[in-house]
Symmetry: C2
Subunit: 217 residues, 2 copies
Amino acid sequence: MTESSKPILYSYFRSSCSWRVRIALALKSIDYETIPVNLIKDQGQQFSEEFQALNPMKQVPTLKIDGITISQSLAIIEFLEETRPTPRLLPKDPKKRAQVRMISDTIASGIQPLQNLSVLKQVGQENQLAWAQKVIHTGFDALEQILRSTAGKYCVGDEVSMADLCLVPQVANAERFKVDLTPYPTISRINKTLLALEAFQVSHPCRQPDTPPELRA
Amino acid sequence: MTESSKPILYSYFRSSCSWRVRIALALKSIDYETIPVNLIKDQGQQFSEEFQALNPMKQVPTLKIDGITISQSLAIIEFLEETRPTPRLLPKDPKKRAQVRMISDTIASGIQPLQNLSVLKQVGQENQLAWAQKVIHTGFDALEQILRSTAGKYCVGDEVSMADLCLVPQVANAERFKVDLTPYPTISRINKTLLALEAFQVSHPCRQPDTPPELRA
């Protein structure tokens, strides 16, 4: 691969959706360049004209790869899965694939969007913590119940899947919002097992090019 | 197919996520039974113990099919696509598939969750309309720009895809919240073209078993 064809990931170290994609890239050993988009600095670099042209939704992640530009983390991961199938992030069996996508979408449509930065801004500073906690509790109550019937070592059986790529960043958000995880033993157990894997460690928010020095680990 | 193996869709006539799945079922000529879940009546039938056991997120749609129960509309549609591939709802080319999923997720993760019933309840009655309008405007500003580069007759090229199944119900929500669609000629044009198709008509909220008489058409 020539230098110019290296994929470019527009990412923010703390963005849970960016982290999902970083894990996929790491698991599939895809070499890429990071261009940080700081969602706080300069009143939000995602609002720059240059970035809006790449992603009109003004969100990270966005991936330039194979001559196209893709936004939306799950769309990116599905594209990586179809074009770089090894190791696979979706099981072979359609019913298991459905479980993986159901869990992924529960997080990506049912939890994360309701506690992301732009919503919390609208909710107002004094209500942010309670709002985020409520959203995550409602989602995790459901997720814990779903995982009890789908999980093995990981979210669905014993293979790492797209669902796991969604789970770990969402648990990190829960911790940031001080959500008590005691009622969620299955979520907590899977999260801990996944965090021991190298792909989850190299992609971690505390180890990105744009991680501020005081948050590095 | 025996009677007992007919798929069962838990649906609410007005739910835009249920409508997405109803269009997929219609396009693929899958015969199914509807069990209505009234999100308003009885303080919300989705909160019943019986329904929570099927879908811990307490949302519609949920589909019972092939011996499994799937929630999350896009996970359901992907399962239908993998098990009943004709007519296809995802293009063959991985880059076009990525565009379809990007548009679908923009709606399913970026717009709809922020204006659904449970969020609007939390926002409070006096703020609901302004909140929903803002969310949809932000999303449609982006969507219009994306579609300008992907659309043919439909959202991506000239074949109906999963993206179209997300677009039409979201436009219906926009109309319900009195969003001015003048700034979105591409969205409006595609929506109108799709609404002329039979699968979009038979699945329409005004023609469901649980549509109240005064809203039938």
